[in-house]
Symmetry: C2
């Protein structure tokens, strides 16, 4: 068996506008990489983190990657295992693209491979959720489930955890733009009201059902029409510069649908071709540049496979 492995895990777009806390999908880029090595000394060491500008904890008990791997080892009764972890962040932290999720998923996938795959990929989801709890105070699954399983994933239920892998159109591209302003997930969650009008909730689940139908029917127009959020977006979009203007620009450039990725500040659009997705990111970045906001962009087909072993 190999004693060293390098794993890539994808960024993810949680919520997919209307599906707050229950939907997410993975993209081919960006993503994070973990290099993991079996050692002779029990316990986990983080020997290196790159690309985080010193923002992530190096202490194994506090870092989400090592903490969730630790949890996994305890569950399997394999606490004699020694691991050295190098984490290479290749995506922005706090961007709303499932940064902590990508790292955690890469780590869990890596250790599971090193130990000869005792658990299925789907069975890793609860361990990754523990990592999310540590990262943002709330063990949600709408990033980690698609990061592990690839594609679009529905979290039908949290108690018990019930995951449904959804199909999607073959030609489906995400245009992602990250305006470099800071919106921590914790704060973004606290802005959301505890109570909502039932009539708004009905509007929302009509759209959630429409989005799921559109994915099964591979109907990009229905997918786009369903990407409306009357509950969370009106609040969260306040933190995102010129959100409505960006929606107009994305739509004019051919986006099927547009919205906030996870808790923001990244925004994303779905489009039927790479060319359209490129046009969308170009227009949005151009606008952000005009209002003096730095941004990063990513154009990617929806990721169908989840994490992968590199080399």
């Amino acid at each position: 068996m190999k004693d060293t492995i390098k794993v890539f895990a994808p960024a993810t777009v949680a919520n997919v506008v209307c599906g707050f806390d229950v939907l997410g999908f993975a993209v081919n880029e960006p993503g994070d990489e973990v290099v993991m090595r079996l050692t002779n000394k029990p316990g986990i060491t983080i020997s290196q983190i790159t690309g985080d500008e010193g923002r992530l904890p190096r202490e194994a008990s506090k870092n989400t990657v090592s903490a969730s791997v630790q949890h996994y080892l305890q569950h399997l009764g394999r606490t004699e295992v020694g691991l050295d972890i190098a984490l290479h962040k290749k995506m922005p932290i706090g961007s709303g693209l499932g940064s902590s999720s990508a790292s955690t998923v890469a780590g869990l996938f890596a250790v599971n491979e090193l130990l000869g795959r005792p658990l299925s990929t789907r069975e890793l989801v609860p361990f990754a959720m523990k990592g999310e709890e540590l990262a943002c105070g709330y063990g949600h699954a709408d990033n980690v489930a698609p990061a592990l399983m690839g594609g679009f994933v529905l979290i039908r239920s949290y108690q018990p955890l019930d995951l449904v892998a959804l199909p999607f159109p073959d030609e489906l591209y995400a245009a992602i733009v990250y305006p470099e302003v800071d919106v921590p997930t914790k704060d973004a969650r606290q802005m959301i009201r505890n109570k909502v009008f039932l009539k708004d909730a009905v509007t929302q689940w009509g759209n959630v059902a429409g989005l799921v139908s559109g994915l099964f029917m591979k109907d990009l127009d229905l997918i786009g029409r369903s990407m409306q959020d009357v509950l969370v977006e009106p609040v969260r979009s306040i933190l995102i510069p010129d959100f409505e203007k960006m929606r107009t620009l994305a739509t004019d450039a051919g986006a099927a649908g547009f919205g906030i990725s996870g808790s923001g500040p990244s925004v994303f659009a779905l489009a039927g071709s790479r060319e359209t997705a490129r046009k969308i990111t170009f227009e949005l970045q151009n606008h952000l540049h005009r209002i003096n906001i730095n941004s990063k962009s990513f154009v990617s087909q929806v990721n169908a496979e989840g994490p992968k072993v590199l080399d």
Copy 2:
């Protein structure tokens, strides 16, 4: 062209437990019949209503069938048309099975056939919604859309009206039991709270998405797991005798899922065979009989075609 037509339109199960106001499906029985005849005198006359125990208005402007047909004729600019309508109620009124919807849909389908089908079946939905507004004070579509289109229908949006016909398993049976207690739709709606907890709404749309996925995947188990309603059922079930006991009996008899049909008091279960559905209605009626409540039951495959011309 024929000058007389007899049309059957199906009963419907609105909400399908978790999909309040956005989902419904049609059954093969029960249903209502309308006999419609072109006359020489402009205007609509209701010459006969049977099976309603005198409860429905005979006056054309107040009866939902004639009022929605009138609306249809006005829309087409065909107010010179004269019609005689006989309505044969073959299902209980106020039962939660879309009784007014079945009558209205039969009437609209009949007049559209008599006039040479100027509108598609789907285009009749808004006219039928007008009838619902008259019948229960609220122009919902979760009975009339499946009654007209057959099968399971999603109302993705009301403004604008956006309907999605959903697939369903080939072998899918509804077991319906109507306990003969009175629960008018208007009162049942007024019991529902205006505001709900966001966390409950999230649970609900996870289930709505699961139900839609289960229908596309023809996965009866997923359909059943998703038939949970944390928002409306806890309130409405108070009006239904021994609701939780009936759920247990239905589940023990093999129901995939169980809940209230529309605003009740009818309850329904979905099952994978006619035999299981029969067993469910038997157990439920037996129990209602023991607690001295009269009931009616219906076992039917999901209706795939909507209204049909008889004879």
